[in-house]
């Protein structure tokens, strides 16, 4: 009997084009929008371009060999290029700054060279405060500070000047990059994880559809199925399995689209990813079932309630504003432990970013707990229901 119910339920659900649109097409569409809008930002942290600067080619600048050398090294093309320097006249530099083509102008007023400290020979002209401007200032400060150190050391005498100069020219890098895992902390991925969470919660529309079609007081179909001699559990399980199959299939399509078409990085632990999707679909379905059984209003109101609450949960998981997930996790941690959308997004995130699976399994465990509670609540409401009149 179960197989019979399952088969016809599958056929029935797959012809529900409205729900198909919201559960399958809409997440695909939103993913595409995300990709178009900030796909450009993926894989980078933004602002990796060298800082554009205009240097006034004055006689003072040409006489200042140390500054020339320093700026020259920093503007050498390569991975560590920090500056993009334009050597130009004062008026041209002003024009470039006014047009926003450079972040600032470096002007050397008097040649004081390495050796004098206190007053600065170089000054910076900018039109706003920002990272590029701060880097320019740090470059010039560097020059100033090195001069100060050299002066201070020289003033104590008994120093081999040529050795000191050689040392000053040969600056060392004292930082070594390490990383906690191989994953790049790509901020934009968070939006796609929240999107998968949204798709999972939208599976609730199938769960709600099931409750409409099984309760005698909600639809004619429900009434007809209630008087059939089939055991209620077989019917419920058949409906459930069919909708789970459909929503899981939709989820796979979404994942395939994200990974292969939009090149979203979900890591390479495919088994765990699928487990998350399955747990997510079950959570979504049971959430929809609860709303479908607890609210005794019209179908429109139920759909609106489900969609609005799903969207709220997704908002808290960072779908519209990614920092929200982190804010909730810090300000109201309990909320992020019971919000299925946050759990799904965080499961993806922890799979991607952490080497161990502690946090991943915590998320999956909580997600299963959420589903169990939801199923239990709807079971209490659905079981042995009697209708005096409908």
């Amino acid at each position: 009997m179960f197989m019979h119910v399952f088969k016809y339920r599958l056929k029935c659900l797959i012809r529900d084009r409205d729900t198909l649109f919201w559960t399958a097409a809409f997440p695909l569409l939103l993913g595409t929008m995300f990709y178009f809008a900030f796909g450009n930002l993926m894989g980078s942290s933004g602002g990796s371009e060298p800082v554009k600067v205009a240097v006034v080619n004055s006689p003072e600048y040409r006489n200042n060999t140390y500054l020339q050398l320093m700026l020259g090294v920093l503007s050498t093309a390569g991975e560590d290029q920090l500056l993009d320097m334009t050597l130009t006249t004062e008026s041209q530099a002003q024009r470039l700054l006014d047009e926003g083509k450079v972040a600032g102008i470096i002007t050397v007023s008097a040649d004081e060279g390495v050796g004098d400290s206190g007053s600065s020979p170089a000054r910076l002209t900018v039109t706003q405060s920002g990272l590029g401007q701060s880097i320019l200032k740090a470059v010039l400060d560097e020059y100033l500070h090195t001069s100060a150190t050299a002066t201070s050391v020289l003033s104590r005498g008994s120093v081999d000047v040529s050795e000191l100069v050689a040392r000053l020219r040969n600056r060392r890098s004292y930082t070594q990059q390490i990383s906690y895992s191989d994953a790049l902390p790509d901020y934009m991925l968070g939006y796609f994880y929240a999107l998968v969470a949204m798709a999972a919660l939208y599976a609730g529309l199938w769960g709600m559809r099931n409750t409409m079609d099984i309760q005698a007081d909600l639809s004619d179909k429900g009434a007809r199925r209630s008087v059939a001699p089939t055991h209620k559990l077989a019917v419920v399980m058949g409906d459930w399995t069919a909708s789970l199959l459909i929503s899981f299939g939709e989820m796979l399509i979404l994942l395939a689209y994200l990974v292969f078409a939009l090149k979203v990085d979900i890591g390479d632990q495919i088994g765990y990813v699928l487990l998350t999707c399955l747990a997510g679909c079950i959570a979504g379905l049971s959430f929809g079932t609860v709303i479908g059984t607890l609210f005794r209003k019209s179908e429109g109101t139920k759909v609106a309630t489900l969609v609005a609450s799903s969207n709220l949960l997704c908002f808290l998981a960072g779908l519209m504003y990614l920092d929200m997930k982190d804010i909730v996790a810090r300000k109201a941690p309990v909320l992020s432990y019971i919000n299925p959308a946050a759990l799904i997004a965080d499961a993806f995130y922890s799979l991607y970013i952490f080497d161990n699976h502690r946090r991943f399994f915590l998320n999956i465990g909580l997600l299963c707990g959420f589903s169990a509670v939801m199923c239990f609540v709807s079971f209490l409401r659905l079981r042995s229901e009697k209708y005096a009149s409908i």
Partner: protein
Amino acid sequence: MQVFRAYFKVLRAYAGSIAIYMAIFIGISTLIWRASPRSVVTEFFETKTPVAVINRDGDAPLAQGLADYIADNFTVVPYPDDPEKLQDALFYRKVHYVVIIPEGFSAGFMAAGANDEPVIQKVILPDSMSSHYVDMRIDKFLNAAGIYRDFGSPSRLTETAEDRQAQIVAAVREDLRAETPVILRVAGNAGENSVQESDEAYATYCAYSSYALLAMVILGISSAMLAFNRRDLRLRNLCTPMPKRSLEARLAVGHCLFALGCWAILALVGIALNGTEVFGSGRGWLYLLNCLAFTAVATSIGFAAGHFAKTSSAQSGVVNVVALGMSFLGGAFVPQSVMSQSVLVFSRFLPSYWYIRAIDATKALAGSVSGNVYPIYGYMLIQLGFAAAIFSVTLLFSKERQMTEL
């Protein structure tokens, strides 16, 4: 008048759903409004990149001195030495740089020669300029310290290793005190500068309002049309003594009034949130006019949706897809400047692209209206062109459909 009354009666039934969009939009706008800066910028501020400092070298004076120097130049966000928390912090951009001073760093640094010095470990965001910025400061501090170590520290008669470290730190900090003079040139006086700031907030509001405008206008107009286009109702209306043309004219006036109402509400909310400063310079009127042009676009799309959507579920699909799609692709949510060129080439075929272009151009006028405003009117005309095209195509198709239906 009867048609007119019926029109707004229909709309009243949908007031709830329309209000939801409005409420969501006002909520988001308020959040943005609270987040956007309104301070007057008259001096230069260095960017204080957020960093986390994990000092495993404890109280050693050199490590402490470095940590203090970092704290003076950057915003240090306190985090425990827990990789999971730090990874979270990096992913969510709470910090851009994690500095790890390894255990025994200070002693190792002091004992080392020029070639076997220990290093500071860092965890950074990939290719970000801000990490170079932090690198520069750390390298500067340690290079100076290295010079004092190798070329005679302030006094060679030091007693303990700690004292020597402390003296080096003091000497280095003294050297690093000097600052390059920075001249901040602003167009006009400080007063105008503050106008600029509030312009930014208002421009962002206008960009976001395109989403609300599209959603509300399309939903409202298509709902009303769906009701009037119901086959039975339409056939009944056709056989009344009222000429078809005058019925449709009244509906059109209804559409326009409704759309204008939405525009007016959004304009008033914008003024309530951002104040009227932006109108003092005349740019406020440009923003409003631009928004009105976009209202025409929204009206035409609502008109098309009302004609082509047959069921209310198809209608809600259209509302969401069009409003979200146009806003995302046109650059309402994410600035056009960070979108990829290939997407922008495609976006040119959307009216929302020109709406945002006009907002950006108006914002760039900053200061006075004496700049070149003609391109902005051009952008508005393009939007009106889109509206006219959508109207015409819809009318063409609807005429054909009426022929086949009857």
